[in-house]
């Protein structure tokens, strides 16, 4: 993979986000697409795009896309989410040694406890979709962070829509 291709793919991710109303404040600000959804560091990221070797966690994050987004109070996987998960499934089936966790997240416009359950529902829906695309259930853990780990922290729709997400986090070193 070359760098220009990475950029192209990233541009595609942004375009999808805009179509969902998930625009970030600054379209060139890709912070929200970096790292794990739970705010852990060191997993992929745009800065590492040039170094993303095929089959690496960076490759997955940058070239496949590690997250999908949901409508408000919904765990339904929409067309764009399905497209991302189809790519995730192909990649995960190719690099079958990775175990991973699907993190379900909610935006802050819900009560705390409900959002834990909503995040779990999103993680479960994502897990089931990946299983339906041939990924072994034994590789998949799920966890919900509810509204505890937003990636975007403004108080309007541009942030909320980025926070309603399920993030596929690979176990490093597989």
């Amino acid at each position: 993979m070359n760098i220009s291709m990475h950029q192209l793919k990233l541009a595609g991710v942004i375009a999808v986000a805009v179509a969902l109303g998930a625009c970030s404040k600054n379209p060139t600000d890709l912070d929200g697409l970096n790292g794990s959804g739970a705010g852990r560091s060191g997993v992929g990221g745009v800065g590492a795009a040039g170094a993303a070797s095929p089959g690496s966690t960076q490759d997955f994050v940058v070239n496949v896309g590690d997250r999908i987004f949901f409508d408000s109070d919904s765990s339904e996987i929409n067309g764009s989410g399905q497209a991302t998960l189809d790519k995730q499934a192909r990649w995960l089936n190719q690099y079958a040694s990775y175990a991973f966790t699907v993190e379900g997240h909610a935006d802050e416009r819900g009560t705390r406890e409900y959002n834990f359950a909503l995040g779990a529902r999103r993680a479960e829906a994502t897990k089931n979709y990946l299983i339906s695309r041939g990924v072994s259930a034994a590789r998949i853990k799920t966890i919900s962070y509810g509204k505890e780990r937003p990636v975007a922290v403004c108080d309007d729709i541009s942030c909320w829509s980025q926070n309603r997400r399920a993030v596929t986090v690979l176990k490093p070193g597989a």
């Binding site: 802050e108 009560t111 705390r112 406890e113 966890i143 505890e148 937003p150």
Partner: protein
């Protein structure tokens, strides 16, 4: 009647507090303001004379500050009320500022003990309405001030007090996308703050046990997020139950013998209760929906909870053993986090609508809904032990803060915390 039964408990907690009534034959049942009559009341004017003795000034200052946040009592400043707590106060000075009651007292040390006494005087009749003497360790001065405040609040309203209580909450620091959350506890007035966890693990939703000695809460760790029990004094911590998935939203039963909580499995959240002695678990709901935020009725016979089984979050009530549930919320919006009042007369809730997140109360049959606080984001009510106030958190200005409001929405006050704070749990009366 005196307050002696209550004070006996206080004696145990305070390590040797002795309480002696300073009045005989006073009727506890009398009430000077009817707090059950609705929100259209006039607060009772109370003039607190500066207490005598070397600890007196701070004692009466704490009492006045408490009354400023009491909604039902209104502290008024008066001229010279007479400094001798053994004699009737200067009633003319009280009448001049329309005080209906005068509080006199003294507090001082001797032989390593602190002796505090107060008398409550009815200005109308000139008679003493209440009085008590407390002997305790000087370190407990603030608590004695709260106990005196409660005794006076009780005498005038005919309701239990709420000043001698603590608040468990989640202290928040750090960036919003990766908040450090610590389980914390403090007195209602913000004193005696303690952090009970270090902030390494994400912790949320603490709830007091009925005896105030334990907290149940949800914490993240290396495994699935789980419900824990924490002994506040010893720091001993244990997982509640051995469930195959995330457990969250824990609450004690009124007798302290059970914890009811949600278990997340296959995308659904169902309610389970666990007997803390036998460790036996009982499944209470099986709807395939999100059933969470349970709350026992004070008699333990019912559980209110929220469920989206009908499409959106609404409040339901079922028997404490599970079974059929009846929806009780039918207003505009989504209803969540029901909490049964300790008196049983109301259920407090969070309501989400187009106007944001509001805190309100309704009767247990769903009637009589009343909104107490509105705005972008108010959440998570917790009752005062007397059922006259709820505490909640409000997001705004970069993070959440705690507030309290009375059940008529007459007075809202910030609750002092060291920083951002969420998920308050108001303890029972400590005495």
């Amino acid at each position: 009647m005196t307050f002696a039964p209550t004070r006996r408990h206080a004696a145990a907690l305070l390590g040797g507090l002795a309480a002696v009534p300073l009045i005989r034959g006073a009727s506890f049942a009398e009430r000077y303001i009817d707090v059950r009559g609705g929100g259209d009341f006039k607060p009772v004017n109370v003039a607190v004379a500066p207490f005598g003795g070397d600890s007196g000034a701070s004692m009466s200052t704490i009492i006045v500050n408490n009354f400023k946040r009491s909604v039902f009592l209104n502290p008024v400043e008066a001229g010279d009320l007479g400094g001798n707590p053994d004699a009737a106060p200067n009633l003319a000075a009280a009448r001049a500022v329309n005080a209906q009651f005068v509080v006199t007292g003294r507090s001082g040390r001797g032989e390593g003990r602190m002796k505090t006494e107060f008398r409550l005087w009815d200005v109308g009749s000139g008679a003493q309405a209440a009085g008590q003497q407390y002997v305790t360790d000087p370190n407990n001065a603030r608590r004695v001030a709260h106990i005196v405040s409660d005794a006076i609040f009780s005498k005038i309203t005919g309701e239990k007090g709420f000043f001698d209580t603590r608040v468990a909450f989640v202290d928040e620091s750090g960036p919003r996308e990766n908040r450090r959350k610590r389980l914390s506890i403090m007195d209602l007035d913000g004193a005696s703050l303690r952090h009970l966890t270090r902030g390494d693990d994400l912790v949320v939703t603490p709830r007091f046990s009925p005896n105030s000695q334990e907290l149940t809460y949800m914490a993240f760790g290396s495994e699935d997020p789980r419900v824990f029990l924490l002994n506040i004094d010893t720091g001993q911590r244990e997982v509640v139950g051995n469930f195959p998935g995330m457990t969250f939203s824990p609450r004690f039963s009124p007798d302290g013998q059970r914890v009811v909580m949600s278990l997340s499995q296959a995308g659904a959240a169902n309610l389970y209760s666990m007997d803390l002695r036998t460790r036996a678990t009982t499944r209470l709901t099986d709807s395939g929906a999100i059933d969470t935020s349970p709350s026992y009725s004070p008699d333990g016979s019912k559980i209110a909870f929220e469920s989206d089984r009908g499409g959106t979050q609404q409040i339901y009530v079922m028997g404490a053993g599970g079974g059929g549930a009846n929806r009780i919320s039918f207003g505009q919006g989504r209803y969540s986090t029901p909490v049964w009042s300790p008196k049983g007369d109301y259920i407090a809730f969070t309501r989400q609508g187009s106007g944001g997140f509001a805190i309100g109360v309704m009767k247990p049959d769903g009637s009589g809904e009343r909104i107490l606080a509105e705005g972008f984001h108010n959440e998570g009510p917790s009752w005062a032990p007397n059922g006259l106030f709820v505490m909640f958190f409000r997001n705004g200005g970069g993070g959440p803060k705690l507030f309290m409001v009375d059940i008529f929405g007459r007075g809202e006050f910030p609750v002092t915390t060291p920083g951002f704070a969420s998920d308050p749990s108001w303890s029972p009366l400590l005495g």
